[in-house]
């Protein structure tokens, strides 16, 4: 019997409770293979003001390019203790940080590989639907051939590409609107 979708609603300003005890800033406990990286996402509204009450989630493959999920049936190693999921709220400076490993590349349907990326969900008061975007890594030679990036107008691609700061942290500002509006995906 077919059923109609449950509509989306905002997370509101007072999410916490359950979601607080399920926060995950550190995705990769000791022993997980791969290059350790730190990601800092900063959320802004259309006027450029920081959003201190957002919730950001990430989902990624492990360093071998394998998702910890039954749908990924490829013969690549899974890392014990690495699910690939993180969740953090933005702080008073609009920033959410994650410690993880750099994801490996995953295939594109119909052939070829995608550039390494992290999938990002944005929730906040005033955001009625989950906004989905991606984080890529500046300097990755695979960026030019990434089929998802190539769906985006060239001048907007930079909104998806994190840059490494002087301390080695991968930083990506997210904008819910305005001149630097982040590219969001219908996924």
């Amino acid at each position: 019997m077919s059923r109609a979708l449950t509509p989306s609603q905002t997370i509101g300003p007072f999410y916490f409770g359950t979601v607080v005890n399920a926060y995950r800033h550190d995705l990769a406990p000791a022993g997980v293979a791969g290059e350790r990286i730190e990601i800092a996402l900063t959320l802004h509204d259309a006027d450029g003001a920081i959003v201190p009450d957002g919730l950001l989630e990430i989902w990624q493959a492990n360093s071998h390019g394998r998702y910890n999920h039954p749908e990924d049936r490829r013969n690549l190693p899974l890392d014990a203790g690495f699910e690939g999921y993180g969740r953090a709220s933005t702080d008073t400076r609009g920033c959410a940080r994650f410690g993880t490993v750099k994801p490996g590349r995953v295939p594109w349907p119909g052939g070829g590989l995608q550039a390494a990326h992290v999938n990002v969900s944005v929730f906040a008061r005033g955001v009625l639907n989950r906004l989905a975007t991606r984080l890529y890594f500046d300097g990755d030679p695979a960026l030019a051939e990434d089929p998802a990036l190539n769906l985006v107008e060239p001048e907007r691609r930079a909104t998806l590409i994190a840059k490494r700061d002087a301390t080695g942290v991968w930083r990506l500002p997210l904008y819910l609107g305005g001149p630097n509006e982040t590219v969001f995906f219908d996924c």
Binding site: A4, F16, A46, P107
Partner: protein
């Protein structure tokens, strides 16, 4: 691999518009450009299942998270997590949060002049069964004022968070109570296309009430369904 593993919701029939100006915060927090349609790759058709997340016994009973019992009308909230074909989403993690019976959240940002209840925290989690059924015990949340417009009140609601089987199925929503007169005035509820709004209302469920103990409400949650797989050569 099928490029359209999950069905895409028809625009304007299910979900709110990102920019819904009656809900004022959406104006500066909604993208102006359309989202770019991404074929479904492994990144979208996988997602956190959180199967390893261990729930404490009683996390689904919000009335027993503290020393004593909270004030308010005790209720059972139950239902099923399904997809658009009516198939259960097995073992889904369901997270909820809500204000207390007086309309106040246990949250430092909530400055509503209503009492906090030391016996009510307001968060709960449940793991759905293999048949998609979940169940919470809680108290009926109160209505609360907010600053969206003059004399703005949120209808009583419980926030729900679901992951479903994939990144593409992630959903956060709110459950409302039937026949609440505040629904007509609420810009968040009314941001949803009119025909879809009743899906956010729980149904009073006389059969599931517990005599001498609690009223019951039923709220089924429907996540995106899969397209029929033509040929899967992975």
């Amino acid at each position: 691999m099928n490029e359209e593993t999950y069905r895409r919701p028809a625009a304007g029939q299910h979900h709110p518009a990102n920019r819904s100006p009656d809900y004022k915060s959406t104006v500066s927090r909604s993208p102006s450009k359309p989202a770019i349609v991404l074929p479904h790759t492994l990144s979208e058709i996988t997602g956190p299942l959180l199967r390893a997340e261990r729930l404490d016994a009683g996390e689904n009973d919000l009335t027993r998270r503290r020393m004593g019992e909270p004030l308010g009308e005790r209720i059972v909230v139950h239902g099923r997590v399904l997809d658009e074909d009516g198939k259960p989403v097995p073992e889904a993690l369901v997270e909820i949060w809500q204000c207390n019976a007086a309309g106040r959240y246990h949250h430092p940002g909530d400055q509503h002049d209503a009492p906090l209840d030391p016996n009510f925290y307001g968060g709960g989690r449940a793991r759905a069964g293999t048949d998609g059924t979940y169940r919470f015990i809680t108290i009926k949340p109160g209505a609360y004022p907010w600053k969206n417009h003059y004399n703005a009140w949120r209808p009583a609601h419980i926030h729900f968070s679901l992951f479903g089987p994939a990144f593409a199925t992630r959903l956060i929503t709110q459950m409302y109570f039937p026949q609440d007169p505040l629904l007509a005035f609420d810009p968040i509820y009314n941001s949803v296309p009119e025909g879809a709004r009743p899906r956010l209302q729980a149904a009073f469920d006389m059969d599931a009430t517990q005599p001498e103990w609690a009223l019951a409400y039923r709220f089924d949650i429907v996540l995106r369904g899969r397209n029929a797989t033509p040929m899967e050569n992975t």
